[in-house]
Amino acid sequence: MDDPKVEIIALSNTLKRKMGLKPDDTSEGFIDPEAVKGADDLVKTLCEECHSAIAGVFANLNEKWHVMRDMPKDSPDRPAISEEVFILSHEIKDIGSMCGYNLIAHFAESLRDYIDETELNLKAQRVIIQAHIDAIQLAHKQDLKDDDGPAATELKKIVKLAIEQYK
């Protein structure tokens, strides 16, 4: 007999059984809507501490960026630290977007994607990264949340200009 090219494995639904239903029960269940609303409310409360959480990650990001900026272009440590900067900017984007700090999330995402796409060993690229870091710091310091207010638009314009001028 030929070896089958495709194997389809139909599993018994043990999770349904855990819910007290038959494994072949096709009904759709739900999580208590009150609990779901409670979860959202709880996140809102926890997000009130988000400002200090962002501050902590940002301090780490800034420190790693300074190390990276000052290290020799051909340092063997560059890829590792570059990844750390990438991960930290991603984390700021995560926290910012979760807690309504959309402007900070915007710059952090832009920084993350920029780092992902470049080798970061040219002076011009450092200017672009520094512009992002300054923008995140300023938005955090002034507690700017929305990404479409006048201050946000101005900040975005400055970073965009840096990207266009130095890319």
Partner: protein, 193 residues
């Protein structure tokens, strides 16, 4: 006393549920654990990266018969993490010989919002994807999806994971998705709960 009437469906009781959460950010960990606790999830294990999760799954599996160790029902993992990504974890889970590990439902959570990420997670064998920022409804719906819409697993040369075809809609034309029946080996598997 239940607030639900006798003939109304009652919500899922997740008190016997064990979720393995893999997330590198401490802040995001605390948010997601809080959400799942609100849902009533009985046991939440937390790891900071893929390698930690792999180590935990190995230990859990090795001590499976112990009454102190609970089975993991769902893995909820971030995609981008230092020290082993969500993709590394998915590849490891789906690559195991042990049925209790390789069939684990995996929900990928990511702050990347591109279709590319969704396709990558799907092709690595994820059951569901959830884009950050996470809402209560979003997380609850993915957990319910995993419970309610368990799909068959497909094993082909370059893929092992839940069937990526979710729809079973009628189609007028040559159905190129259909594999020659002689090449399909159906297997019913009864995973132990």
């Amino acid at each position: 006393m239940s607030i639900y009437k006798k003939d109304e469906p009652s919500p899922y009781d997740l008190s016997n549920f064990t979720v393995l959460l893999v997330e590198d950010s401490l802040y995001m960990q605390s948010l997601m654990v809080s959400m799942m606790k609100m849902f009533g999830v009985g046991d939440i294990m937390v790891c900071s990266n893929a390698q930690e999760a792999i180590d935990l799954l190995k230990v859990t599996q090795a001590r499976r018969k112990s009454r102190y160790v609970t089975d993991i029902d769902i893995v909820v993992t971030d995609w981008l993490m230092p020290g082993g990504s969500g993709k590394d974890l998915l590849n490891w889970i789906r690559g195991q010989d042990d049925d209790n590990i390789r069939f684990l439902p995996v929900v990928v959570v990511s702050a990347y919002t591109t279709e590319k990420l969704v396709a990558m997670a799907r092709d690595a064998g994820a059951n569901e994807t959830l884009v950050k920022p996470i809402s209560g409804v979003g997380l609850a719906s993915r957990i319910c999806c995993v419970i309610d819409k368990a799909r068959s697993f497909v094993s082909i040369s370059d893929y092992f994971g839940p069937d990526r075809r979710r729809k079973d809609a009628p189609f007028n034309g040559d159905d190129r998705r259909v594999t020659n029946p002689k090449h399909i080996k159906n297997k019913r598997k009864k995973a132990e709960g």
